[in-house]
Symmetry: C2
Subunit: 325 residues, 2 copies
């Protein structure tokens, strides 16, 4: 069994070996740039870890894993255009460093590159991996569309929000695990339990993100605390705050939502955070996160292999829930 | 053997049966819209015609053919954002009718949909069709990048231009033919000859487009004559005009290239067209078009099947060369 660190090291090495120094440079340079910015490489790690549960030969799942990581970075690239985000992992985004057209076209060719890596999945598993990957990719686009739609809507329910983050975030983690399991030789039931583990960990992971954005430590979080509050992002916290606030608290919250004055940014973050604490939405979000985390662990328990085979995944899930960044 | 008309009718019917009335509507409506705008459906027709040369069962190639048509329309959708084109086939483009973000994301999901249709290629042929499709898709992005790069460069050679249109236009026609041939059961040599036929017809087709844009009949061409001249597009005609013009003609051409005043549009088109005639670049372009057309016909001659099997493709090639729109 390989440790999580050994697996991420393997992925980093393999990712660095892909040659993006091709012509026309305007097309490929941004891809090399985006992939050089780093990231946790969680998705390809999940593929190799799931494979490793059933097989010692994780190398047979490497190309599929790289395809998923390239696809994930493609979605960030195009999402950053749509969100007009200027910074990603502390560096300028592609549409900022180059321009929108470059970001669109380089993203398009990244999506093709993702499929080219997926196509190198061992022949026995290719068709079902390809179909799950396409379904997942489509779901991620649906999630992004709901995310965009929700920003324009007045009311979004907690269930709608959870379905959106299931599509936008959780399905790719689930897909990464299931494809790895398949390639490793897992049976359908184990592969499906790992898929479900991925969905539940993904939902918990995103709720953790919502919490960190408000209650995280700026030094370790890596980006500015309160970003979601400033842009009125309808997170699990805000959705519940809007539902629970009455009287003065409701009008105070509504007033802050109308304020986009940069000079009042710190005040807005502080006041909305205080409201969140008064309304108890932090605890609601933490409870829901724990709910999904518990479900995820139950899914993992149901995978019928020796306990030691699952230890690395269990550790990773635990680490993702207690991370500060 | 099915006629070209029977084949395009089949494709139109199959395309219309795809359900794009799905949630979220903001994601899928633009796809249904783009595909409803029509077009000649040349690419899927080539797939089915090539299949039909070797097999009576063209239905086995329908999903692959639809995938290629969806991919082609995806490239138009994203190219229109990059070119800031407001009109396509007489109707507003997606980024104009909706907005840029919608056009980006709907395009992304169209590319995935294209792969979903390609994935339904009969299992025996899936891997090689998938690989050729991805290679072709990547080449089309390269062609688009060169097209963008060339607009910013002072000098572009005729050979560079031909390589750009090979990538941007010809490879998809070639891919459509080769995949159809494979699915129909063709041997590798026949499939390759049909690929080469596609490349050469594609090059001739694009040169014909360049000619029609200047010398076409506005009533039948469907868009305004002289569009390429107005935006200084480095077509085969302009590249040769820039090479051949000396003295007064050179300075006159350079002057017109600097003029973008809308009030002088008709004068610019008329004057540059007159220069093209004086410099003989129309004949140069027509000769090159004939050169590729002749090569294409030789490729088709080399396909080792009965002559009557190739008649529909021969007729189509002939029609594409003598079209007025």
């Amino acid at each position: 069994m390989k440790t999580f660190d050994e697996i991420t090291q393997l992925i980093t090495t393999e990712l660095e070996q892909i040659n993006w120094s091709k012509e026309p440079t305007g097309l490929y340079e941004p891809i090399g740039y985006v992939l050089s910015l780093g990231g946790k490489r969680i998705r390809p790690a999940l593929t190799l870890m799931a494979c490793n549960i059933f097989s010692d030969h994780v190398e047979q799942a490497v190309d599929t894993a790289l395809g998923l990581e390239i696809f994930h970075n493609f979605t960030l690239l195009h999402d950053d255009i749509m969100d007009r985000a200027d910074v990603r992992r502390g560096q300028p985004t592609v549409h900022k460093k180059w321009n929108d057209n470059t970001a669109i076209l380089s993203g398009d060719v990244m999506q093709i590159a993702a499929y080219q890596f997926i196509a190198r999945t061992p022949a026995d598993h290719l068709k079902k991996v390809l179909d799950l990957f396409s379904q997942t990719a489509e779901e991620i686009c649906q999630g992004q569309q709901y995310d965009v739609d929700f920003e324009k809507r007045d009311a979004v329910s907690a269930d709608e929000y959870l379905e959106m983050i299931r599509l936008k975030t959780a399905v790719l983690l689930a897909c990464a695990l299931k494809t790895g399991a398949w390639i490793g030789g897992a049976g359908e039931e184990d592969a499906q339990n790992l898929y479900d583990f991925g969905i539940n960990i993904g939902l918990a992971f995103q709720l953790k993100d919502d919490l960190l954005d408000v209650f995280g430590n700026e030094a370790t979080f890596g980006k500015k605390i309160g970003g979601d509050i400033l842009c009125n992002k309808k997170t699990y916290l805000l959705i519940h705050a809007l539902e629970l606030a009455v009287g003065n608290e409701a009008s105070e919250l509504q007033n802050w939502l109308k304020i986009s004055d940069a000079g009042l940014a710190d005040n807005k973050i502080k006041s909305v955070t205080t409201l969140y604490n008064k309304l108890g939405v932090k605890a609601i979000c933490e409870d829901k996160m724990e709910f999904f985390y518990t479900k995820a662990i139950a899914n993992l328990d149901n995978v019928r292999v020796a306990e030691n085979k699952k230890q690395e995944l269990r550790n990773l899930a635990e680490k993702l829930m207690h991370r500060n960044d």
